[in-house]
Subunit: 95 residues, 5 copies
């Protein structure tokens, strides 16, 4: 899983039936310093995430599992809202 | 899922049976400013997308789900036509 | 799916049983101008592709579907021979 | 599979039900010289890994298999603790 | 599938049960000129590959298929030993 921020929404009237009723959120991947890394993508929201919220997302089968739609045309989903990251970067100096 | 633009079509007489009847669209991935990012690829159209349309696409199992062909030799499919992107980039400044 | 060119063959006597009888083709990914992009890889041929042919390939489950071997140790397969690419790059200038 | 180091934990009260009870560990991918490579990500711990431990992780279906939750919203999991890497780099000079 | 060279082994006492009995080989991806490309990773050996051998490897479901463990925490496996690569690079000049 990875962390990201919801930065927008996508509207599509003509879309796969399995996406009907799903909120399509434009999501910017973040690194653990909350800095943007990589390109934004579209994820289905499954936890009621709002614009500006820092979230966790999953890809592939995990995303369809989160959406409860194993047969859907979904390959990325927001699966949690980040409360807190506790990071101990000093352990990276260790051999 | 990601957004892209249909920039062409691919014709292949000799191909896997599961692709017969599917429109093979050359698709250029776009970023959220509609600028090309990464390399074009081939996606099966499942929503009647035309040349020049801005679309949403999915990869892997999600693409076969969209095509309604779980056993097909498909790993990318166009699953929606973008009406609108509402992007709030200022939320990226937030810690 | 993506396009590529068959640039060679790989011979392996000791290999997974599921690969026995499959032609292992060295495949160079191409962009839509037929220029090499990325690194060559090994794909199972499922359409009788020859050296130098421009092909379509799929990865993951789609490749096992094309080979008709859902339980095989295959993660890439040649699934079609490209007759023609019709590309309309001017549509990329459109907002 | 790849190796990494556990560098932190993520707390999320609002998350997919399938993640309840799972420890979400911030994991930094490492190369075989134990140097950071690529971006940290979130993995479910399945072997009791602690902060600073060098681990093995798997992605996709393998991660759900390790967590024993095939239908979960999980796409990366810690599946082992590295005792030792025996590396013979000289074999790379061989043609 | 891709080619690589076995450059070492990884020892892990604490690991997912599905890995018990599997040899964990440190594998360096190679290009078709046998030059290292990308980062080493850990693959389960399924064909008795030794240190220094040039191998073929598969990822994802294909790797679990090769290991004969569809429910394992495996996402990469060595599936063959390369005898020979016949490469015809001149076909890349062709339009």
């Amino acid at each position: 899983m990875l962390i990201g921020r919801v930065i927008g929404t996508l509207v599509a009237t003509r879309k796969d039936d399995s996406l009907v009723g799903s909120k399509l959120m434009i999501t910017q991947p973040l690194d653990i310093d909350y800095k943007p890394v990589g390109d934004p993508f579209i994820a289905v929201d499954t936890v009621g995430a709002g614009i500006g919220e820092t979230i966790i997302y999953a890809e592939g089968t995990a995303s369809r599992n989160a959406a409860g739609k194993p047969d859907a045309a979904i390959d990325a989903a927001i699966i949690g809202i980040v409360d807190n990251l506790d990071v101990y970067k000093d352990v990276l100096e260790k051999q």
